[in-house]
C-alpha cells in the first residue's frame, strides 16, 4: 500500500499554523492547540500524508519533515536493544543503545532496569537473575514505563524478548539452543540465559538440546 505524500517547498518554523484539527491529524513535528488549530513544533517542510484506506479516521496527517531531529528517546511501549552492565539478585541494569523495531542508535546515555518480576511471564518468583543475564549481553527488551529519574523499567517477559547476543568465556558469539540456553561454538560449553527467539524463526524448544 502506497500512501501519497504531498510536500511543500516552503520551510515552516515552530508556532506557525498548519491547518485545523477538523481537516487534519497532527503528525510528527506538529501539535494540536486547544483552539482546534494545528501548529508546527519543529523547523522543516510541511507535508500532508493521505490517510490509509483501512484507517477509521479518514483525515490526512500533517507533518513537519526534513528537520534536524534529535536522537530517538525510549518511551513506554517501544522495543529497545540494551547492553547489560550489572546483574544483581533482584534486578539487572542495562545501557539502552538502540530504540525502535528498525533500531536507531541513541545519542545520549539512557539506563534501563530489568526487575526480577519482568524477566519472564511464568514463575516470576523463581527467576535467577544470574542465570538470565550476564554483563555484556545484548538484550532486546520492551520499555514498560519511564521508571524513576535514574532509569527506565524494561521487560523481557515475551518469547521474542531476551538475550539476542552474548559472548562466551572463550570470546566467541554463542548460539541459542533453547529458550534458556546458549552454546559456545568453540568449546561447546552451555550457558544459561533468558534467550530471545527471532521472529519468523522456528520456535526454540524449552528442553535441553545437544548440538550436532
Amino acid at each position: 500500500m502506497v500512501m501519497e505524500v504531498e510536500e511543500e517547498e516552503v520551510i515552516v518554523t515552530p508556532g506557525e499554523i498548519l491547518g485545523k484539527t477538523t481537516t487534519f491529524v497532527p503528525g510528527r513535528g506538529a501539535y494540536a492547540a486547544p483552539n482546534k488549530t494545528i501548529h508546527a513544533s519543529l523547523c522543516g517542510r510541511r507535508s500532508i500524508i493521505s490517510a490509509s484506506p483501512n484507517s477509521p479516521d479518514q483525515k490526512p496527517t500533517i507533518e513537519v519533515t526534513g528537520h534536524k531531529a534529535h536522537g530517538p528517546i525510549p518511551e513506554p511501549g517501544s522495543i529497545v536493544l540494551a547492553r547489560v552492565t550489572k546483574v544483581m539478585p533482584k534486578m539487572a541494569s542495562a545501557d539502552i543503545m538502540c530504540v525502535g523495531i528498525r533500531p536507531k542508535s541513541v545519542k545520549e546515555k539512557f539506563t534501563g532496569i530489568i526487575r526480577q518480576q519482568d524477566v519472564r511471564a511464568t514463575e516470576i518468583d523463581k527467576v535467577d537473575m544470574h542465570l538470565s543475564f550476564r554483563p555484556g549481553d545484548i538484550v532486546k527488551a520492551l520499555v514498560l514505563s519511564l521508571g524513576d529519574a535514574r532509569a527506565y523499567y524494561l521487560s523481557t517477559a515475551k518469547n521474542e524478548l531476551g538475550v539476542v547476543s552474548a559472548e562466551s568465556l572463550a570470546g566467541a558469539t554463542m548460539v541459542p539452543i533453547s529458550l534458556t540456553e546458549l552454546q559456545c561454538p568453540l568449546t561447546g560449553q552451555i550457558e544459561q540465559r533468558k534467550v530471545a527467539t527471532k521472529a519468523g524463526e522456528k520456535q526454540l524448544t524449552t528442553g535441553n538440546q545437544s548440538s550436532t
Binding site: V10, I11, V12, T13, P14, G15, E16, I17, L18, G19, K20, G29, Y31, N35, T37, H39, S41, L42, C43, R46, H67, K68, A69, H70, G71, I73, E75, K107, E108, K109, F110, T111, L146, G147, D148, A149, R150, A151, Y152
Partner: protein, 315 residues
C-alpha cells in the same frame, strides 16, 4: 521628545542583528546571536535521560547554565575585591538562569519527551564594550583598571580623583564602581534569542518561538529600544520583554479570529528593573511588541535559510 544616544540611533532603532546556527560540532544544537557588540553563544545538549530531584518526571525538564565572560587568554582581569560582591554577581547569574529556564519551559512542548532533561548552556562571548572597573587606592596613587572592548588598560592617576570618586563606594582602601551590581544587563534578551535558535537547531519541539527585547525609560521619560549597557546604567528604569513570534498561517485570515477578536499569544516574560510609571510600562509593551515583530521576521528568515552556518545579518 528626542534622545541623544551614544551610537546616534533613534529611540526606536535596534542595533545590528546577526545570527548563526550549528556553530558547534559536539552540541546537539547551537547558535550565536549578536546584537551590536553583545554576543551570546548558546549550546543545547539532550534530551538526556532522567529529570532532577524536584522536577516532574511526567514532563521534560530544561536546565539552564549561564557562563559569564572570563576575559582574554593571557590577560588577568581584576577580580571583585570583596566576597559579598562576588556573591551578588553569583546570585544575579542564578536569577538570570531562573528567568531563562521559566521562559524556555513556557515555549517547549514538555509532554513530548517525558522524564528527560535538555541542557541549555549560554556563554557570554562579548558584552557591548561598556566600561566596568575597580579602583584600588594606595595612599596618593590610584590604580584604575578598566575593561573596554576586551582590552585591559592600567593607568596611574594622582590622588585628585574627587569627580570620579563621587560615583564610587569606598570600603577601607578598596573602591569599586557601584554600577557593577548590574553586571549582566542587556545580555538577557540576547541570551533568550540565542537559546531559542539553538533549541530549534537541536530539533527540540517548541510550541512557538520566543523573541526578546529590552526597553528602557530615559530620564526625559522617552522609551528607548535596545539600550546598550552604558545607556541602561543611566536609566531610571528598564524592562526585558519576551513575546512569542508573530503568527503565520496557511489558513485564510478570517480563521485566525476567536470570538471575533484577532488571536494573539500575549506576552511570555517581563522583567523590570527600577521604578516605571504604568503608562510608560504600557508604552514599553507597545514599542516592544512592534520591535519583536521585526525580530520575529528576522528570526524566521534565518531559520528558513538553506545554509545554517551562513550568518544572516540585518541593520
Amino acid at each position: 521628545m528626542d534622545v541623544d544616544r551614544a551610537d546616534n540611533r533613534t529611540p526606536n532603532q535596534l542595533r545590528p542583528l546577526a545570527c548563526s546556527r550549528n556553530v558547534l560540532n559536539r552540541a546537539h544544537g547551537s547558535a550565536k546571536w549578536s546584537q551590536g557588540d553583545t554576543i551570546v553563544l548558546a549550546a543545547v545538549y539532550g534530551p538526556k535521560a532522567g529529570t532532577k530531584k524536584n522536577e516532574n518526571p511526567e514532563k521534560a525538564s530544561i536546565e539552564v547554565i549561564w557562563k559569564q565572560k572570563t576575559g582574554q587568554i593571557g590577560i588577568r582581569h581584576p577580580q571583585p575585591p570583596l566576597s559579598y560582591n562576588r556573591y551578588a554577581m553569583w546570585k544575579e547569574e542564578k536569577e538570570y538562569e531562573m528567568i531563562l529556564k521559566r521562559t524556555l519551559q513556557s515555549i517547549c512542548l514538555l509532554t513530548v519527551n517525558p522524564n528527560t532533561t535538555t541542557s541549555v548552556i549560554l556563554q557570554v562571548v562579548n558584552d557591548d564594550g561598556a566600561v566596568s572597573f575597580w579602583l584600588y587606592s594606595h595612599i596618593d596613587i590610584v590604580i584604575l583598571y578598566f575593561v573596554e572592548l576586551n582590552h585591559l588598560y592600567t593607568m596611574q592617576l594622582n590622588s585628585k580623583v574627587e569627580i570620579l570618586l563621587e560615583h564610587v563606594k569606598i570600603f577601607s582602601d578598596v573602591c569599586f564602581c557601584s554600577f557593577l551590581d548590574n553586571n549582566l544587563t542587556q545580555l538577557l534578551p540576547c541570551a533568550i534569542n540565542a537559546a531559542c535558535v539553538a533549541l530549534v537547531d537541536a530539533g527540540i519541539p517548541l510550541k512557538h518561538l520566543a523573541v526578546a527585547i529590552c526597553c528602557g525609560l530615559a530620564e526625559s521619560g522617552t522609551v528607548v529600544l535596545d539600550p546598550t549597557k552604558l545607556e541602561e546604567q543611566n536609566m531610571p528604569a528598564f524592562t526585558y520583554l519576551v513575546f512569542p513570534n508573530s503568527v503565520l498561517s496557511v489558513l485564510p485570515e478570517g480563521t485566525l479570529h476567536v470570538d471575533g477578536k484577532p488571536m494573539e499569544y500575549g506576552i511570555i516574560t517581563s522583567v523590570t528593573h527600577g521604578v516605571m510609571p504604568v503608562d510608560s510600562y504600557f508604552d514599553c509593551l507597545e514599542r516592544g511588541r512592534s520591535a519583536c515583530a521585526k525580530l520575529s521576521d528576522f528570526l524566521r528568515r534565518n531559520l528558513q535559510s538553506k545554509d545554517p552556518n551562513n550568518p544572516s545579518k540585518t541593520t
